[in-house]
């Protein structure tokens, strides 16, 4: 088979997106939906078909030259290797299931063509990031996912709040994009190429300060897309979008793009100890921050949004601790169980009649469909890291990687990770108890659930539960498949005695049980939620929005106001207006001369005549 056929993987969703955007509303609805689903499903099948291409060093496919300027030639090129292949498989697989779910979820939506067009376009952009062979193609996808995210968060733009959330997400991620663009330009200035392989190969020759600078710029770029501190404020608001969007973009794929970027450039990033420490610190602090915020949230999707932020923080911690395999394993399992959780949350919201508030739910275990409860519980167990689920193994690997770094800083971050694990179990079981336990508190009857919204949950929940098999540690007889598959890309070898591993696993299990016990004690029977300054502080995300408002938005508005009122209106406009007024006044004074009376004009004639006469007389006299 021809390698160029690899381009079909990203281009099929693009073709379907274009078709849906141009003709979607004229096609029969069923056809438009089928087109959207089939485009992504075909990508998935092609990925499976081409799986062997990723063996060894992978396959590089070139479609043509994109830019050729002087020495630099940037081609449209894809790299299908051990790192991008599992990611492609995950993106297309999860996206297929979410597209199916979306067909059910949006069955009453009038504007389906725009929705499916944007969703397909998003899959294309995400695949461009994943498969990119050079950083410019990656950047194309990077901006593409941002655009689609903006369009889909504000999908119901008739409500101002949704449109504003979309704008906020776009602007905040854009701040990160600027840093990424700066890193790209710097890399191009240093190496004269943007090919990821070439950059990674040449990275060893860079000065340490340059490496640290580049790593920090890449980290800030990744922070924007992955909602890490300090660019994390947009993710919770992004839940204004339709639930399939939250599941696909804001849980499974786009927010992990930052992690993927750092993994892709790991050979460069890993050369800078300070940069690695910065990545780990950002990850651990975000994980802890988001976990505390999730404790107090009242909207089901916001809890999940903060948990996403927290889990992506774990992935950053893994990259910082040098374990790409750990980060990728957590990325994959997290994508499965978080997508399942989000889609189940969408079902719950739909069942309860568009009720978002978990304090007004309750009793869904007995009243709601049995399978929904089971799926949500499976996802929640994975998220909490209950033993033997996918989340347990992937999270343990990360904590182990942080622990085995051994430096005091990493031990501190490991402690933060452990605390986060406890909080994760606590807020996850709080969510489960508030939604499913007890008696209904808010809704009176349950709505019907379309079949298409039920069964795509099952594969995802199962994949989440069994996700541990991806990278099963040798401790329990696993082969660490993912780490071996990644080969040279897997990062640092994690060396730990079995005793340490057992101890850490036991500790993690203990924390999960502790979190579960605390949540059961507090929320098994509903006794109302705390409402004190502390919980309000957490509910508003530590006042991050207010801080951004105070530090960025208000000074910006003030400067803009100064420019508009002070310079534009007071200086420019006033000068021009003054000139115009003077001219008008002049004309007004001249206007009075023309009284319209013949006698006045005649008098004017005479005076003129006399003056001319006088002039001639004077000339005569001289």
């Amino acid at each position: 088979m021809n390698q160029t056929l690899l381009f079909l993987i990203p281009l099929l969703p693009l073709a379907c997106a274009v078709a849906n955007m141009l003709f979607g509303m004229r096609l029969p609805r069923l056809f438009a939906e089928t087109l959207a689903v089939c485009g992504v499903a075909a990508s998935f099948l092609l990925t499976v078909l081409f799986w062997s291409y990723a063996d060894g060093d992978g396959t590089r496919a070139v479609l043509g030259t994109w830019l050729a300027a002087g020495e630099a030639t940037i081609p449209f090129a894809l790299q299908f290797d051990a790192l991008s292949a599992p990611m492609t498989l995950m993106v297309t697989g999860v996206a297929t299931l979410i597209h199916l779910y979306a067909v059910g979820y949006m069955h009453e939506e009038e504007d389906y063509a725009r929705f499916f067009g944007l969703l397909n376009l998003f899959v294309f952009a995400m695949l461009a990031i994943v498969l990119a062979d050079n950083l410019l193609v990656l950047f194309l996808g990077w901006e593409g996912v941002g655009l689609c995210s903006y369009g889909l968060i504000g999908f119901w733009y008739q409500k101002t709040g949704n449109a504003r959330a979309g704008t906020k997400a776009f602007l905040v991620t854009r701040v990160g994009d600027v840093f990424l663009a700066a890193a790209l330009l710097w890399l191009f200035a240093l190496t004269g190429t943007l090919s990821i392989g070439a950059i990674n190969a040449q990275a060893a020759g860079f000065a340490p300060a340059v490496l640290t600078g580049l790593t920090v710029l890449l980290l800030l770029g990744a922070c924007g897309k992955s909602a890490q501190l300090p660019l994390m404020t947009w993710l919770a608001d992004a839940m204004a979008g339709p639930t399939p969007v939250s599941a696909l973009i804001h849980a499974a794929t786009m927010v992990t793009a930052g992690v993927y970027l750092l993994c892709r450039l790991f050979p460069l990033v890993s050369l800078s100890p300070a940069g690695m420490a910065a990545i780990a610190v950002v990850g651990a602090v975000t994980a802890l921050y988001a976990a505390t915020c999730a404790l107090a949230q009242r909207e089901i999707k916001r809890v999940l949004a903060y948990s996403t932020m927290s889990q992506v923080g774990y992935m950053f911690l893994a990259v910082g601790a040098g374990s790409v395999a750990g980060a990728m394993a957590h990325l994959l399992t997290h994508a499965f169980f978080k997508a399942a959780l989000f889609m189940a949350a969408g079902c719950i919201i739909h069942l309860a009649g568009d009720e978002n508030d978990i304090l007004r739910m309750g009793g869904l275990a007995r009243r709601g469909p049995r399978q929904l409860f089971l799926v949500f519980l499976a996802g929640a167990l994975c998220l909490a890291g209950a033993p033997l689920t996918g989340g347990f193994f992937s999270k343990d690997a990360i904590l182990l990687a942080a622990y085995t770094q051994g430096t005091p800083l990493f031990l501190l971050l490991w402690g933060a990770g452990l605390l986060t694990a406890l909080l994760t179990a606590l807020y996850t079981f709080r969510l489960v108890y508030l939604v499913f336990a007890g008696e209904p508190r808010g809704y009176s009857h349950l709505h019907d659930l379309p079949q298409l919204m039920r069964w795509p949950l099952w594969p995802l929940a199962l994949l989440g539960l069994l996700g541990g098999l991806l990278n099963l540690p040798a401790l329990v007889g696993g082969g660490e498949w993912l780490r071996h598959r990644l080969g040279a890309l897997a990062g640092r070898e994690i060396a730990a005695t079995h005793g340490t591993e057992w101890a850490l696993a036991g500790l993690a299990t203990g924390l999960v049980l502790l979190g579960w016990g605390a949540a059961r004690w507090r929320y098994a029977r509903f006794r109302g939620e705390w409402d004190n300054p502390g919980s309000r502080f957490l509910l508003h995300g530590w006042g991050a929005d207010a801080a951004v408002d105070l530090l960025v938005v208000r000074p910006f508005t003030a400067i803009a106001g100064l420019c508009a009122l002070g310079i534009d209106r007071a200086l420019v406009d006033a000068t021009l207006d003054g000139l115009a007024r003077q001219t008008t006044a002049c004309g007004e004074r001249l206007r009075r001369l023309t009284s319209g009376h013949v006698s006045t004009y005649l008098a004017g004639f005479i005076w003129g005549f006399l003056i001319i006469l006088g002039w001639f007389l004077l000339a005569l006299v001289r």
Binding site: L593, T594, G596, H597, S599
Partner: protein, 101 residues
């Protein structure tokens, strides 16, 4: 010629100033027109005087033209006076200020 040329010119000038005074001082349209006629005739007197003085016929020819033109002008202006009187009911020159800016 018995009358000296200077006298003719002084007479013409006096006549012209009188006509001018009539045009400036009077507010009635007919009187203003009469003033204009007087001024034109003052010019004609000066032309005839010059013609006699230099013994050239051009001045007299010019006066004949002037008379023809004056009669035509009077015919038009009197028609306008009648029209304005009918339309506005007055001949006060200061009542007409349609050209005011």
């Amino acid at each position: 010629m018995i009358v000296p040329f200077a006298h003719v010119l002084i007479f013409a000038a006096i006549l012209f100033v009188m006509g001018l005074g009539c045009v400036l001082a009077r507010r009635n349209l007919i009187m203003i027109l009469i003033g204009v006629e007087i001024m034109l005739n003052a010019a004609a007197v000066a032309l005839v005087g010059g013609s006699a003085h230099w013994r050239q016929v051009d001045g007299q020819v010019f006066v004949v033209f002037l008379m023809a033109m004056t009669s035509a002008e009077v015919a038009i202006s009197l028609a306008m006076v009648v029209y304005l009187r009918r339309r506005r009911g007055t001949l006060e020159a200061d009542k007409f200020d349609g050209l005011r800016g």
